[in-house]
């Protein structure tokens, strides 16, 4: 076995009222990938923040290259050679690639260290990018790049620090399968150079593809540390949630009714072309495709958030005009958006207000006063129905875990009892336990006769949950597949099909 480069022992970290880490041990071997897993709130990020100096531990010991170190701030960690790539990527969007890479340590003229040497910065960046085989212009503004490219810049930055340890926090949460492959080849390249990687992820298949060892945390405690080869999906899941999940995707086969929604020849100039499909009662229609294929744009067009240049939408056989979200809600549609934080929750408002936010009209009584008591009653009902874990419905939603925030948003869209529910990445960034709960909620809704469109980047989720799958590629539907024909290879083939034709 390779030598240990990092040993963290008996790490304790408390936050007001919570013992986030309760004497946790963790180690990392040189040139390997060590996966760190656990549900949200298990302490993974806290442990890593102890390592990179954002939240130094209350007690415990960190041995780096067999020497005891204290890491009071991120700069110390970086100088030691410990870099972290954060889940919420951290670029300065309006600055160039090179300025982002050398942020805070720009090459300067002479010993004064005051005036920045742009030519040297450019040359160093070019060498660095060439070394990593990244085809990027050092002068390009970062905001013009895809999320995957931004991530590559973060990795390049870590390499430029000569980092021995790179921590990656959910690096693939916004990547397409191709981009994940590229990331993994990058990780292998780093391993060959002797760089060690701590890899935080919720995605099982990735762990088995890339990791050498795995450590599972639960509620701030160690559960297990083992070579990945000695684990399987079931043992990992039960280690994480502390119970056996009988099935990850608890799909109930239920009878599918007649056509409810029909979309005919829908066009959005420059984005979507000739989109036609139908959706039946009790059906879960999965929507798959690469990021940028137009999945979200299609959902936005359906929900009236995007102007349609042509095409018809029929509800129960009758044409309807949906030109705004108000029209869509009136027509009985609900839309759980892709980005919980950006377009979903209002962080500083209560769970209750977040629940009723889309339906304040229906709670307006005489003289326009809100019917607060009815609001509370409905909110409590959905809290129970969806088992939302919150100390009270008056608690601020920002204090809930991601999974529970998502459940509140599901409750929001169930409140006015929609017939058609559009779910865009309903389980992104939430832990395995909450994911299973959301899946069973979705299945239950379908069995009650609701029609569901579910967009997801995770193929196992799409395959596990959908009755049919619509594959989108470059703004067109390339296939609509029946449940019996679903497998990862087929979906991926259609998701990339137009590319292949062009090539």
């Amino acid at each position: 076995m390779e030598e240990l480069i990092l040993e963290m022992s008996k790490i304790v970290r408390t936050f007001p009222g919570v013992k986030a880490l309760n004497s946790v041990d963790f180690h990392l071997r040189k040139g390997t990938v060590h996966a760190l897993m656990g549900e949200n709130g298990a302490g993974k990020s806290t442990l890593m923040k102890c390592l990179v100096g954002i939240n130094p531990p209350d007690s415990g010991e960190i041995l780096f290259k067999s020497k005891k170190v204290t890491i009071p701030n991120p700069l110390t960690a970086l100088r030691l050679g410990i870099a972290m790539i954060y889940q919420e990527l951290n670029p300065v969007a309006d600055r160039s690639v090179m300025e982002n890479i050398w942020l805070g340590r720009e090459p300067t003229f002479g010993k004064l260290g005051f005036f920045v040497n742009h030519r040297k910065m450019y040359e160093q960046t070019r060498e660095l990018l060439a070394d990593l085989a990244l085809d990027l212009n050092p002068r390009q503004k970062v905001k013009e790049l895809s999320i995957a490219k931004m991530q590559m810049i973060e990795i390049a930055k870590a390499v430029s620090f000569n980092a021995d340890i790179v921590v990656m926090d959910e690096p693939t949460s916004a990547l397409t399968p191709n981009e994940v492959d590229h990331l993994f080849s990058m990780i292998r390249k780093l391993k060959q150079r002797g760089v060690s990687i701590i890899y935080i992820s919720h995605k099982m298949d990735e762990i088995f593809r890339i990791a050498d060892e795995v450590t599972v945390l639960r509620d701030g405690n160690n559960v297990v540390t083992k070579p990945v080869a000695e684990m399987n999906i079931d043992s990992l899941i039960s280690a994480m949630v502390g119970r056996n999940l009988t099935e990850l995707f608890p799909k109930i086969e239920c009878p599918i009714g007649d056509v409810r929604l029909e979309v005919q020849n829908l066009e959005v100039t420059g984005l979507l072309h000739d989109i036609s499909f139908d959706l039946r009662r009790g059906e879960i229609l999965g929507v798959s495709g690469l990021v940028g294929a137009g999945r979200t744009e299609l959902m936005e067009a359906l929900f009236g958030l995007r102007r349609k240049s042509s095409g018809r939408i029929l509800l129960d056989g009758k044409p309807v005009h949906i030109d705004s979200p108000v029209d869509a809600i009136k027509a009985g549609m609900g839309f759980l958006t892709e980005d919980r934080r950006l377009t979903g929750i209002v962080p500083v408002l209560s769970v209750k207000i977040n629940t009723v936010l889309a339906h304040l009209d229906s709670y307006s009584g005489a003289l326009g006063f809100l019917q607060l008591r009815r609001m509370t009653k409905d909110c409590l009902e959905y809290k129970d129905r969806l088992s939302i874990k919150t100390p009270s419905i008056e608690a601020l939603i920002q204090n809930l875990s991601g999974g529970n925030q998502q459940k509140v948003l599901v409750a929001r869209w169930l409140l006015n009892n929609p017939d058609i529910l559009i779910l865009d990445e309903p389980t992104r960034g939430i832990d395995v336990g909450a994911k299973a709960e959301i899946h069973s909620i979705i299945t239950k809704l379908a069995s009650e006769g609701k029609s569901i469109i579910m967009v997801s980047s995770e193929l196992p989720e799409i395959i596990g949950m959908s009755d049919r799958v619509m594959v989108v590629c470059q703004g067109r539907i390339t296939a609509i597949l029946d449940r019996k024909d679903l497998d990862q290879e087929t979906i991926m083939r259609y998701a990339t099909s137009i590319n292949n034709h062009a090539a």
Binding site: N90, A93, G104
Partner: protein, 327 residues
Amino acid sequence: MSSTGSLKRLANKYTIFIVLFVMAGALSFLSPYFLTPQNLINVLITESGRGILAIGVAFAIISKGIDLSVGSIVSLTSVVAACLIQDPSYSARIFPGLPILPVFVPVFAGMTAGILIGSINGALIAYTAIPPFIATLGSMIVARGLGLILTNAYPVPMLRPEFKQIGQGSLGPIPFVVIIFILVAIVAYILLNNTKFGKNVYAIGGNINAARTSGIKVEKNLIFIYAFSGLCASIAGILITARAASGIATLGNNYELDAIAAATIGGTSHAGGIGTVPGIIAGILILGILNNGLLLLGISPYLQQVIKGVIIVVAVIFDMRKNAIRH
């Protein structure tokens, strides 16, 4: 990228300068007096003080903050400097026993006052995490009060000629105030583009978390940013006082709004991380030419305010479109 695309991008990048030239062109048609050297120099003299102010405020805005105290710093600097350089022949001096001091004394005293208040702004923002709007609102009121206390709200007249020379003298045809404005602009340009400090300002405004995790000392930089803004304000205060030949405790009232307006029109984004010195200068000149032009055309000064207000809002609407993240 198609050629129309890159043309569009180019036009976007230089919108503000195109607007400036179009305005200047139109005015030179409408008023024969507009393009005369004397008129242009008058515009520059009038706008130099506010221009220096706008450059300082822009640093705060680029770092995703704001500095409301600069107008009050102008006032405070004005009376601090003036009361140290009153002519002994004047009987009602603030400090009756004061000997004749060399001219750099009031200049440095004024600049010290500006840097001091700016540093306090920066420290408040950096260490107490109160929003810059509130911190500088507080110091704006405090500085205004200090100026009034020092002078009992009376003007401070009869300044020595060597001090007045700063505001009224010139090098050949070019007044000192304009030269100082140009020097401040050059220093600010170099600071923003060629120093680590400048990169830090953009990074703090663009993404403060990125700045922190990259090891940038955010607190220290915030203090520098607001100290620089205070320094610029006090330089402007000295120039305006020397020109007016009198220290006045209400001299800079509402100047902060003009400065913020100029920086904003010049493309400095209140969302942080965006702004350039040439842009700010264009912003200041647009406001200056507008003032001057409307005056030459005999348009009511009250209507001028309406027009200025509309231009500020339109400028920001354009800017937000331009800076929207493209996918």
